[in-house]
């Protein structure tokens, strides 16, 4: 049963899913009505969202919302679980190169309160554990570790330190203090090579001093050894090469999805589903191969809609680039409500977008990927990449989203907004989206609608 693209509420999805099931539309083992995630896991915030009505989107949501179950099942079958934190596109790639190991993102727990009805439960618990509202909502992770109600405790916890996020380091240090041992690895801040200094090319057209690449490679070697010990299997270069190829297969699907959606005249898929899709390539939602299948389904759906000239918004919608993820997913729905279409994004998952070089020794390739992450370099590099993408996808307006408490947002946001507006000559707006944005919705909507109106008047001029 194919319907014209539309965003529908949870209730409508459940009715549609029931019809599909009666008609024998095959769903994966984790399929079913989305409403069950509200009933069983208390993800009441799903009731506030509007979802794409394709079966590919249903699969995406069910895949995302069953991750904890998947992890528990894996644990029950004796698989080893690795918590990867601030890995910059490296640790899950290494972990999935080994048999019977699954990596996941405990910091993905920061989405949990955003989906739950008692939204501030985890955040308040985190505060009681020593991470208050002056830090990023990722602090929800502390409470999730403590109460054990969400994901199982990992067998190994790996986190980078150094030139990554200060908030995260503080929270991860607190986590360690509360009894979860962390394997730390050092990440230097990327810098421009000096004249005459040996340097290496990084993904995304960047360069870094060879010394820095060597340092990260040695750090990752330590991580590789620890991962191998977990299952008494050496993480050989050959295994790692295969792992990189498989990770790249997922990344290629995501690249195809972004290209299909962002280059299209209308919006073949909504902004919310694009945000969730990008998250899959970061940590594979605890099943690398299934991530690829889920993304592949979205690519097919988007391609079909483009060919049929179908869109979730009017084809004349303003083409918007979105910077940073939002703490409340509801804010993503506002884009289409205001008449915009997502035509580019930097949700801070850039390290999972570029292909990992396959023609280099694998640890070296991973080191270069990590060093290319925008988070470890100057904001100017991030802005340059965004400008290129905005030009490529003919973007007409930019939204820079801020996460309250996330310290990098405070200093990066204003720079990005001003720089992108000046460089591209398009209107740009900064919005702050807290974990529950209900009360702020009218204000957020005014900001978004106003920036789209400015773009509209420029289009007419």
């Amino acid at each position: 049963m194919r319907e014209t693209p539309r965003q529908i509420c949870l209730e409508e999805w459940d009715q549609r899913q029931a019809t599909l099931a009666r008609q024998g539309g095959g769903e994966p083992s984790y399929g079913g009505p989305l409403g069950r995630h509200v009933e069983r896991e208390g993800n009441g915030r799903l009731r506030q969202l509007r979802f794409d009505n394709s079966t590919a989107a249903l699969r995406l949501w069910n895949f995302l919302l069953t991750e904890n179950q998947r992890l528990r099942a894996a644990r029950a079958q004796g698989e080893r679980l690795v918590g990867a934190m601030k890995d910059l596109g490296t640790v899950p790639v290494m972990a999935y190169a080994l048999p019977r190991v699954r990596a996941f993102y405990p910091d993905g727990a920061w989405w949990t309160p955003c989906l739950m009805e008692c939204t501030d439960r985890l955040l308040n618990q985190a505060e009681a554990l020593g991470a208050d509202a002056t830090t990023c909502p990722v602090r929800a992770m502390l409470a999730a570790f403590q109460n054990g109600e969400h994901f199982p405790r990992p067998d190994l916890l790996v986190c980078s330190a150094g030139a990554i996020c200060d908030d995260f380091s503080a929270i991860a240090q607190r986590l360690e203090r509360l009894g979860s041992a962390v394997l730390w690895w050092e990440m230097p801040r990327r810098r421009e090579p000096e004249t005459g200094e040996a340097s290496c090319a990084l993904p995304g057209g960047l360069r870094a001093p060879a010394d820095q690449v060597e340092c990260v490679r040695d750090e990752l070697r330590r991580v590789a050894i620890a991962l191998g010990r977990l299952v008494a299997t050496e993480l050989t270069a050959e295994r790692l090469r295969d792992g990189i190829q498989s990770a790249n297969a997922v990344r290629r699907e995501l690249q195809a999805l972004r290209e299909t959606v962002y280059a299209a005249a209308g919006a073949p898929l909504p902004a919310l589903e694009m945000l969730i899709a990008e998250m899959l390539a970061v940590h594979f939602c605890s099943d690398r191969d299934e991530s690829r299948v889920v993304l592949g389904g979205l690519v097919q759906e988007a391609t079909r809609r483009v060919a049929a000239r179908q869109s979730v918004v009017d084809e004349t919608g303003i083409r918007v680039y979105w910077v940073n993820p939002v703490a409340d997913l509801r804010a993503m729905n506002l884009l289409e409500t205001c008449g915009g279409q997502l035509c580019g994004s930097d949700f801070m998952f850039t390290h999972a977008l570029d292909l990992i070089p396959e023609d280099l020794p694998p640890l070296e390739a991973l080191a270069r990927t990590a060093l290319a992450d925008p988070m470890v370099g100057p904001v100017q590099d991030r802005a340059r990449r965004i400008v290129q993408e905005c030009r490529r996808y003919r973007v007409e307006a930019v939204v820079v989203s801020r996460i309250p408490g996330a310290s990098h947002c405070a200093w990066e946001g204003a720079y990005l907004r001003e720089h992108l507006a000046a460089e591209l000559g398009v209107p740009a707006v900064e919005i702050e989206v807290p974990p529950v944005c209900d009360a702020l919705l009218p204000a957020l909507r005014t900001r978004l609608q106003a920036v789209l109106e400015i773009a509209q008047s420029r289009r007419r001029a």
Partner: protein
Amino acid sequence: MAGLDGAAIQSVVATGYGRNRVPFAATTITEITCHARGVHHLDPAARSIVEIGGQDSKAIRLDEHGRVRDFAMNDRCAAGTGRFLEMLASRLALDWSGLDELSQRSQRPAVMSNTCVVFAETEIIGLLAEGVAAADIAAGVQHSVATRVVAMAGRALDPPVVFTGGVALQPGMVRALEGVLGCPVRVPADPQFTGALGAAILAGGMA
């Protein structure tokens, strides 16, 4: 209010915070675009708008065609809004217009260090206890609103600057804003209706 009967209305544009709750509107347009349109109609030379209403405040930059180039908005806190004036007026046992009348008698506006309404209330009590004249406190409150709005605007506002919104009805606020900006500001007739005027003009273009 405008004396029109329903049959004379060909198109309706809803604006402002309640714009999505007007079922008979043909479309909704933000107050930012509407204020810009209204101001451009009244004063085509205007390049910047400061709008201070009861709920929020905005700084809007315009191009030579009256189109919005950029905007900044305070919608998160009472400081820099009409609400701030109202709350602090009540601390001085005055109403909103009484605060303005009193401020005209100020010799030396008090310096208010807090832009947060809660702390500013405490500060007023302290100033009164120190014997600072109520007129100077009233002028200080207006100055604090002006400072807050100009700081929110970020970069300098290009002249001519037009001041709209209900708060522009207070001559003391106009003076305070001119003082902080360092340039004269223009106030249209009925500044509280500039957004509605813009909405009507935009609706006219759709009819």
